[in-house]
Amino acid sequence: MRITEWLTPSNPCRQFENNERLFQALKSLNNSAIRCVQNKAMPSAKKLVEQYKLAPESVDELLNQSSLIFLRKIEDGSYQFQGHAPSSYLVEIMKRVALSMTRKRQTSYESIEGHHDLHDPDIEASNRQRESAELVRQFLGQMGEPCTSVIRLHHIEGYPDEEVVRQGWTRYTTTDSLKIKRSDCMKKLIQIARQWKITNNT
């Protein structure tokens, strides 16, 4: 190993021969792929924070929020690979997020009505998802064990049932019993959400 390679962080993009491979890896939420696009977009994030006069510590928030939107768009299929570098799309998202962050800063001392026309559907969707995620977190807390773990391991952390059973992370010793329990828990979770909607009239 060359000393310069040993002294610099490993390049996560090295394992992706082309943009298409990178896109496919992003689709399956591969960690190296996410790090690769984030590393590529990082200089632009710093530049945007400087350009929009945001707080220097906003760089991570900007990159994180933009990555969330980007990955959601890949997941729901609204972003399709067209030969371009995925990081360039992430940078485009970052520009809009940075703009919305400046607006957020302005709303503290300006009327919110004046900015209706500037709302971004992607950012709104992201905010909506964040609210839903917060609600689900609350509902999971209400449900208690074993439903919290059963749902978390599969739907949030993405572990296959076989591994959950093999590692003994739950009391279920077969994948079938685990699936049945999870289905049951999901129904309960939906009922809690439905009840909450009725109660809050949303």
């Binding site: 790090r35 984030q38 997941e75 609600l135 939906i190 959400a193």
Partner: protein
């Protein structure tokens, strides 16, 4: 979304579907958030690892530089610890006559000459059987001699041994004029001029004449004293005249003979010196070593070089080490 999606499609009401959609959206959000946290943690671990590696590398580089600096400065210190007179003595160009007193000034303050220097010359043959040094014979860089050794091939004839000895002596001929500490008075002016011109045979003849004159003068003086003695007491036994050449003359003659390649003769004159000035001793010892080599007394020469080389304060110790190395 497994069975529950089917459950929704079969039995669900609208508000239940909306609640399910919100739950699925929330779970997807939580999954992406968890994924990004995982990636950030990985990134942080990698940054920490890289930071440690850089720190380690910097420390290693600093340690290396410190070692190099230590080596460099310790080496310099060792070199500079040699007194300048010692550095220059063996190889410096022959100083002029006017510079000679300066040598005296530098050499005379040595109140305690090294043991090897005050050993009487007669003791040399009694030294232990010649052995090669127990100290490390290092590859010390010393300048080459300024002058070549005497032409032994011309003086002694063609022969492998003579050529080899000449080649050896050429590398060891650290012989300078005037000898350190030697005061040349008016008596030796002409010989001194000839020696400066490196005309050794003429200088030798001149010194022979001086010796003869001194011997005649001494004889005449003794004869006069004997005559006075016999006039007073005809039964008194007369004082015998004995040659009483002084050490300066002996040293100059020995030096001439050394430069002429007459080792045995040079040794003879060296051995006749009775009270050599302590300042002469270091150089004299070295010259004796060379004379021993010229006289084919190799083992005695090695013994003498061993004594010189083992003496840390001897100005010819590096030359002696070189000699021992060549003689090995």
């Amino acid at each position: 979304m497994e069975d529950y999606e089917q459950y929704l499609s079969n039995n669900a009401e609208d508000d239940e579907r909306r609640a399910a959609a919100q739950v699925m959206e929330g779970l997807a959000g939580l999954r992406l958030e968890a994924k990004l946290r995982e990636v950030a943690a990985e990134q942080a671990v990698q940054h920490r690892r890289t930071l440690w590696r850089r720190l380690l590398f910097t420390l290693a580089a600093l340690a290396f530089l410190a070692a190099v600096a230590y080596w460099f400065f310790s080496k310099n210190e060792a070199t500079s610890s040699v007194p300048p007179i010692e550095k220059q003595a063996p190889s410096a160009p022959a100083p002029s006559k006017e510079q000679a007193p300066e040598h005296d000034k530098l050499e005379k303050p040595r109140e305690k000459p090294p043991i090897a220097q005050i050993k009487p010359k007669e003791e040399v043959p009694e030294l232990p059987v010649p052995i090669f040094p127990t100290f490390a014979v290092q590859d010390e860089v010393i300048p080459e001699p300024l002058h070549a050794a005497p032409d032994l091939v011309a003086a002694r004839g063609q022969g492998e041994a003579n050529a080899a000895l000449k080649a050896l002596l050429d590398q060891l001929w650290y012989v300078d004029y005037p000898p350190f500490g030697l005061k040349i008075d008016a008596t030796y002016r002409s010989a001194d001029q000839l020696l400066q011109q490196r005309n050794f045979s003429a200088a030798y003849l001149d010194l022979e004449q001086i010796e003869q004159i001194q011997a005649d003068s001494l004889s005449r003086r003794i004869a006069r004293e004997n005559q006075k003695l016999l006039e007073k007491d005809p039964t008194a036994s007369p004082v015998a005249a004995s040659p009483m050449a002084n050490d300066t003359l002996l040293y100059l003659k020995a030096y001439c003979l050394l430069e002429m390649g007459e080792g045995q003769e040079a040794l003879f004159y060296f051995s006749r010196m009775r009270f050599p000035d302590p300042a002469w001793i270091p150089q004299l010892t070295w010259y004796r070593g060379l004379a021993l080599l010229l006289a084919d007394k190799r083992s005695e020469a090695i013994a003498l070089f061993n004594v010189i080389a083992a003496n840390a304060g001897h100005p010819y110790r590096r030359q002696a080490r070189k000699a021992l190395k060549l003689l090995q």
